[in-house]
């Protein structure tokens, strides 16, 4: 009897040991495989670059693993041997920032945790700082010194769009404005010594060179880098000392203006809509996020029930958006499931794949007028073009901004992350709009006095005129 108990106990012990063995083995296996993939999460809201939106993202491998070893070796040396204790987070973030910066692409940037949170909040409609969407424009120009010109590369800070009711809008900042200085501090947009170099090549008088050198030195001394400038503009004041409005020196056309712009959180409503003249459904998403696409579907139902005979989709100044919600909106308008193309790189070759709606389209079956301007940016441009190419639609207004970058947002476990340009949007027929913008079918240059109001919005009036002709046809 006793031996039986002992044997039974032994068996149980053996089983327990086996169970523990299995548990341990899994954890050991996992610790190896997790090393491959634990650090990075692709934000779900952003479309994976290659596969269909729903397919799992393949984990790419580094082509030269010894480079990762080198990186880690240097990291360990600094961490262990530097003369003072090191903030290792600073090391990691500093290296990732440099990694992304070396791509020389304004839309591929490392984001510190607070920057990534800012971006996430902006996508949810809470925009901090002056309330403008900013971008960096690389431009080749020439510098004129004496009778000679020399090539000059510039990286200019440009306003893409201003959010409705934002401090930027109240201060009169306009899409297309270049921000030259903040509180008198020059935003570094070019090599300040370019003039000195040119003067030297011309063997200009020594005094002239000296003066130019002195100017360059003073300019640089009181300056902000592009990322410092963007940070300052897209952050709320941290304390009462910083609370006073920023003084922006802005270049618009040939003019230089000075604007006082406050900084505060701007809450952007996802969508406004109404029925115009009891016949035209007017929809104005302020951004293209999940909330906007939900409200868009509801609004469309309401407008149709109210007897809408045509739709006006106002995408002017829509600069914030994500691909997935845009596709959701398109599925309510487009007649085809393939709405656009994306060009991407595979190794050294470029390939195209179609951008496919997540669900079968349920087209509204109404003529659609789309309103755009130069503040219509990125995903909004894509949306305008896709509506135009897959539905009975016409575009009114001015050419759009012209940024067709498809961008992924990646998030690390510590809250930091980065954006990466992974593709370029094209029209379904291969139309390029990068740097050209989407061209309207009917150009309307006049700015609205009262946006979305008949009698105060020339582009809207042209749209309504066209919709009336369509109504007669159908």
């Amino acid at each position: 009897m006793r031996t039986k108990v002992v044997r039974g106990g032994l068996r149980l012990l053996a089983l327990a040991a086996l169970f523990a063995g299995g548990w341990l083995t899994r954890n050991i296996v996992a610790s190896y495989s997790e090393r491959q993939d634990s650090a990075l999460v692709v934000q779900r809201d952003f479309a994976p670059a290659l596969a269909d939106a729903r397919a799992p993202m393949p984990r790419p491998k580094v082509s030269e693993p010894s480079m990762v070893e080198l990186y880690y070796r240097v990291y360990s040396l600094v961490r262990d041997e530097y003369v003072e204790p090191v903030d290792t987070e600073k090391l990691t973030h500093g290296s990732l920032e440099a990694l992304l910066a070396s791509l020389n692409d304004p839309r591929s940037q490392f984001l510190r945790p607070e920057q990534r949170e800012q971006l996430t909040r902006a996508l949810q409609g809470e925009i901090e700082g002056i309330g403008a969407t900013l971008t960096v424009v690389n431009r080749k120009t020439t510098l004129r010194v004496g009778n000679e010109t020399t090539p000059l590369e510039q990286s200019l800070l440009q306003v893409v769009a201003v959010a409705p009711n934002s401090p930027a809008e109240k201060a009169g900042l306009k899409p297309g404005d270049f921000i030259d200085a903040i509180d008198g501090q020059w935003v570094i947009s070019e090599d300040p010594y370019a003039e000195v170099v040119a003067l030297q090549r011309l063997h200009s008088p020594r005094e002239q060179i000296r003066q130019a050198g002195e100017r360059a030195r003073q300019r640089l001394q009181n300056s902000l880098t592009l990322s410092e400038a963007i940070q300052r503009l897209s952050q709320n004041p941290k304390n009462s000392q910083e609370a006073k409005p920023l003084q922006l020196t802005v270049k618009r056309g040939g003019q230089t203006l000075t604007l006082q712009v406050a900084r505060a959180t701007t809450k952007v409503r996802p969508l406004e809509y109404r029925l115009l003249e009891r016949r035209w459904g007017y929809l104005r998403p302020h951004l293209l996020n999940a909330a906007a696409s939900r409200e868009f579907a509801q609004a469309l139902r309401t407008l149709k029930q109210g007897g809408a005979k045509g739709l006006i989709i106002d995408l002017r100044g829509v600069a914030i958006g994500q691909q997935e919600p845009a596709l959701q909106i398109l599925s309510l308008l487009a007649t085809k499931r393939q709405v656009a193309l994306v060009e991407y790189r595979e190794g050294k070759r470029y390939k195209k794949r179609p951008l496919i709606l997540p669900t079968a389209p349920q087209p509204a079956n109404l003529p659609i007028a789309v309103l755009v301007d130069r503040g219509t940016y990125n995903v909004a441009e894509l949306t305008a073009l896709a509506i135009r190419q897959t539905a009975r639609a016409r575009i009114f207004g001015m050419p759009t901004y012209g940024d067709a970058s498809q961008t992924n947002l990646y998030q690390f476990r510590d809250g930091s992350g980065f954006t990466l340009t992974v593709g370029r949007y094209l029209g379904i027929d291969g139309t390029q709009f990068h740097q050209r913008g989407v061209q309207p079918d009917e150009r309307v240059a006049a700015e609205p006095r009262m946006r979305g109001q008949l009698g105060g919005d020339p582009a809207l009036e042209r749209a309504v005129k066209w919709l009336s002709t369509q109504e007669k046809k159908s």
Binding site: N27, P60, L77, V78
Partner: protein
């Protein structure tokens, strides 16, 4: 027996199942645990806890994403890695902690191996090229007729317009007896001209002696660097002024970028009695060691002395100046010194690269940290002079510009006052056994 055997067979049969159960259980638990933060987020709306980032994982995954998916053509993976490492080291805020890619590492090795040959001119950055501060006496540059103020705008036909001074120097240097063609722009001449100079081994003078006040016999010894020869040249200079009956001494360490630690110990030992602390070396874990003045080197001058420093006094200069001040041998006059009292360790890494890391710092005998820190974009720190005197910003350390050398004027003033306070004759440098100090 049989029954028992069967039981064991069952157990054996169960083995894989139980093992698997353990495996699956662990997997399930891990998934649950892993999803916990987001669960919390959903239930209570709390911000997700921030787990620290594994640097290797983070770098690997970001690099892989870029290689696989970046739309543009990414730079080669080694360039991406080197840039990332440089960005990492820049985050220390210490410009001396730096990464050397294969090219930079190769150049560093060349620079430190053997004696260099060049044209023998002190150069400084100038718009469009490198300005000759002064050609060294008897150097190829002097023999070729180059003058202070000339700007070298091209080397062997290659324009220096956008070339850093450091790289310009590399272009000018080369093997002994080879020729280098320099394009020179000289003030007052319309067109630049070209000279061909034969490179030769350059004996850079390290010590210059000036009689600044003949009435009071005040001498200035300008120590220009801390090369291996500096201590012997200093001895020669001290003998010279002693023979001339010097009554006071200005040790000028301005524009002295430093050099060998050994030389700075030697130099300090001329002025400070033996077995006194010259400098402490402190690492992250604390004191690594102290260096003391050497025996048999002390000159026991017994004349008033001051030390001149400015923003160009760095490293070994600061060690000597700090030691002289802390041991109350001489007050410091001038401007804040540069602030570089750091020791770098160079470690070779894979792919023919290397990394220089600041692993220790120097403290003066009284424990003053020599290092400047960057606060709000400005360098703050270094040695503070006891008497602060600033020279005009465009002042140059040349004979011609001596009239505007306010620091020197102040030094003379201080020494004259001291001389007046002492009895005549008392301050004269006494004769001493020379062999003792010759190395």
């Amino acid at each position: 027996m049989r029954e028992r055997g069967r039981a064991w067979i069952y157990t054996l049969l169960l083995t894989p199942a139980v093992f698997l159960a353990g495996f699956v259980g662990a997997e399930g638990y891990a998934r649950f645990a892993h999803s916990a933060p987001s669960l919390r987020l959903a239930l209570w709306g709390a911000t997700p806890s921030r787990e620290p980032l594994d640097p290797k994982d983070a770098f690997r995954s970001a690099l892989a994403e870029i290689e696989a998916h970046f739309y543009g053509t990414p730079p080669p993976i080694d360039k991406l890695t080197y840039n990332s490492i440089s960005g990492m080291l820049a985050a220390t805020g210490d410009p001396y902690t730096r990464f050397m890619d294969p090219e930079a590492f190769r150049r560093m090795q060349e620079d430190t191996q053997g004696s260099f040959t060049g044209i023998g001119a002190l150069l400084e950055d100038a718009p469009g090229g490198a300005r000759i501060v002064r050609p060294l006496p008897n150097s190829p540059a002097e023999k070729a007729g180059l003058k202070a103020g000339d700007i070298i705008i091209a080397v062997d036909g290659k324009s220096l317009e956008r070339v850093a001074l450091e790289d310009a120097v590399r272009l000018i240097r080369g093997p002994q007896y080879t020729e280098v063609k320099l394009t020179i722009r000289r003030n007052g001449m319309e067109e630049p001209f070209t000279v061909t100079i034969r490179r030769d081994i350059v004996e850079s003078p390290t010590v210059d002696v000036y009689l600044e006040d003949s009435e009071n016999k005040i001498y200035r010894i300008w120590l220009q660097n801390f090369s291996e020869k500096a201590p012997a040249l200093l001895d020669r200079a001290l003998n010279e002024i002693k023979q001339n009956g010097a009554r006071a001494l200005i040790l000028d360490l301005r524009a002295n970028p430093g050099g060998l630690l050994e030389s700075s110990i030697e130099v300090a030992s001329r002025f400070i009695p033996p077995d006194q602390v010259v400098v402490s070396i402190v690492g992250r874990e604390g004191l690594l060691g102290r260096r003391y003045t050497l025996r048999g080197r002390y000159r026991d001058l017994r004349i008033p002395m001051v030390v001149l420093i400015n923003g160009g006094s760095a490293s070994a200069s600061e060690i000597v100046a700090g030691a002289l001040r802390d041991h109350k041998v001489a007050p410091l006059i001038g401007e804040d010194s540069f602030g570089k009292g750091l020791v770098q360790t160079v470690s070779q890494t894979s792919h023919n690269t290397a990394v220089a890391i600041t692993t220790a710092k120097y403290l003066t005998p009284n424990g003053t940290d020599l290092n400047a820190k960057v606060v709000d974009g400005k360098r703050v720190g270094g040695l503070k002079p006891d008497i602060e005197v600033k020279n005009p910003e465009d002042w140059r350390m040349t004979e011609e510009d001596k009239a505007r050398d306010l620091q020197l004027k102040k030094a003379l003033e201080v020494l004259r006052e001291k001389l007046q306070a002492t009895q005549p004759g008392e301050g004269v440098l006494r004769a001493q056994n020379d062999t003792e100090v010759n190395r």
